[in-house]
């Protein structure tokens, strides 16, 4: 059976090639070799398991499961596929995630074929987010962005694919297309290399290396948000420190002008109020004077009106031949308050008549008042009598006695002296001397 040995040798050779390529992360080339290996010898369990592993690595979990299950069926004992299947099934949620990602890719592919690229991108976005090593999803994603000429995003997807599978023909093709358009796709560095970014590198430069100045920073979304926030803050600061003070000053100036205007108006109003107050006081004073004047004319017994009424009363008493009443009214008359010349002329006539006949009646009225104990009225009657007839010594004596009784000695002594010196009635003079205390 020489052919069996030859077939085995060929299969082994393909397996070795596949393994070598897998170690170099040429996954597509490795998978081709392993498939050929299995065409020659389906019992090459390691080749089948490695093929499943490569499918799993590029995100084709369904194909991986197929290879591992077949491997398990062909060699039930001591098979590495047991471990792979156990790991996938044991890890909680892994199978659901894989299943969902595959469905999303298939759905995206259906969207692309029905010309709904936007929906396809949404699905692919979620698929590669859940499963970044899903090569077919990354490539379709890159293709859609190349068509949209968004080479940055396409480049990132292509680079991701080339990280997983270094010689993936379609990824290399897309990269070459982008190079033709002049896009320099920055390869994503490994985390280990990223840590060493500040260390001096002595490695040889490659053709597609890009020298980025240290000051250059690619704008990320966060940086853009920070830049916008910084701009807003700067704008707010400019408004606060430059625009606001000017506005505040302008508002204050206007406010001060208005205050000045109102102050002037208030001052004018106060002056007007003072003037009105003065006028009011003056008018009130005039009113009081007028009221007093009116009262003096009307209310009191000494008022002007009362004097005119007294004159009328005297005239009426004359008309009735009631001379005693005329004398009594005359006793209270104050002719000085009467301004009318005609009435004054009447009063002069009355006075002449009173001087001739009125004095005895006045003395009699005074005596009656004294008897009644009304010394003040008695003084009035006696005084009126003396006024009409200055040599009424009896009236003067009675008046002096009343003053003496009221303890008004000066007035009493003056009258007594007048009687002693001037009266021809010796009896009366003796009485006066006695009263006087000589």
């Amino acid at each position: 059976m020489d052919y069996e040995r030859r077939i085995r040798v060929i299969a082994n050779s393909y397996y070795n090639m596949g393994l070598e390529k897998a170690r170099l992360r040429d996954l597509t080339g490795s998978a081709d070799c392993l498939k050929k290996c299995l065409h020659f010898n389906k019992y090459m369990t390691d080749a089948r398991n490695l093929l499943g592993l490569i499918y799993y690595e590029v995100g084709e979990v369904g194909d991986a499961l197929v290879q591992w299950v077949i491997s398990k069926n062909l060699q039930s004992e001591d098979n590495r596929a047991d471990y792979y299947l156990e790991v996938i099934q044991k890890k909680k949620g892994t199978m659901d995630l894989e299943r969902r990602a595959v469905r999303r890719f298939n759905q995206a592919l259906a969207y692309v074929k029905s010309e709904s690229e936007d929906l396809a991108i949404l699905q692919l976005n979620k698929a590669v987010e859940d499963k970044p090593n899903y090569v077919k999803a990354q490539l379709l994603f890159a293709l859609l962005y190349i068509v949209r000429e968004d080479y940055q995003k396409a480049g990132k997807a292509v680079n991701k694919v080339l990280q997983i599978d270094h010689n993936h023909p379609k990824a290399l093709y897309y990269k070459s297309i982008m190079k033709e358009t002049g896009t320099r796709v920055k390869p994503e560095r490994e985390p280990e290399k990223r840590k060493l970014k500040n260390v001096v590198s002595h490695r040889q430069m490659q053709d597609d290396d890009v020298i980025i100045p240290p000051s250059y920073k690619e704008n990320t979304r966060d940086q853009a948000v920070l830049n916008i926030l910084a701009g807003l803050l700067l704008g707010a600061a400019v408004v606060f420190f430059m625009v606001m003070p000017a506005n505040t000053k302008s508002i204050n100036d206007n406010h001060n002008k208005e205050m000045l205007k109102y102050s002037e108006q208030l001052s004018q109003a106060n002056q007007k109020a003072d003037l009105l107050t003065q006028q009011l006081n003056s008018l009130e004073s005039e009113k009081k004077t007028a009221e007093d004047s009116l009262a003096s004319l009307t209310n009191n017994s000494d008022s002007v009106l009362a004097q005119y009424q007294s004159v009328i009363g005297i005239l009426q008493a004359y008309k009735k031949d009631d001379f005693p009443s005329a004398v009594k009214i005359y006793a209270d008359l104050n002719p000085g308050l009467i301004a009318s010349a005609d009435v004054q002329a009447i009063i002069v006539e009355i006075k002449k008549d009173m001087a001739q006949k009125g004095c005895p009646i006045l003395e009699s009225l005074g005596d009656k008042a004294m008897e009644a104990g009304d010394s003040q009225s008695a003084l009035n009657y006696y005084a009126k009598c003396i006024e009409l007839k200055p040599d009424s010594w009896q009236a003067k004596f009675k008046t002096a006695v009343i003053y003496k009784g009221m303890d008004q000695k000066d007035q009493a002594n003056g009258l007594f002296s007048d009687i002693i010196n001037n009266s021809k009635d010796e009896t009366l003079s003796a009485k006066a001397k006695t009263e006087r205390g000589f």
């Binding site: 077939i7 065409h39 979990v61 369904g62 194909d63 197929v66 077949i70 592919l109 490539l139 190349i146």
Partner: protein, 46 residues
């Protein structure tokens, strides 16, 4: 430039996890050894 329509034809749907069983059943596991055995059998019959 990429011809999108021809490019998209190269893409095939991925094998869904739920369809693994069918895929295994449909798998053609014939290898070179089987072919050779068949050929030898046919030659032996003749």
């Amino acid at each position: 430039m990429i011809d999108f329509d021809s490019e998209i034809k190269d893409y095939r749907p991925s094998l869904e996890v739920d369809a693994v069983e069918d895929a295994i059943v449909r798998s053609d596991l014939t290898d070179m050894n089987d072919l050779m055995m068949n050929l030898i059998k046919e030659v032996s019959k003749e």
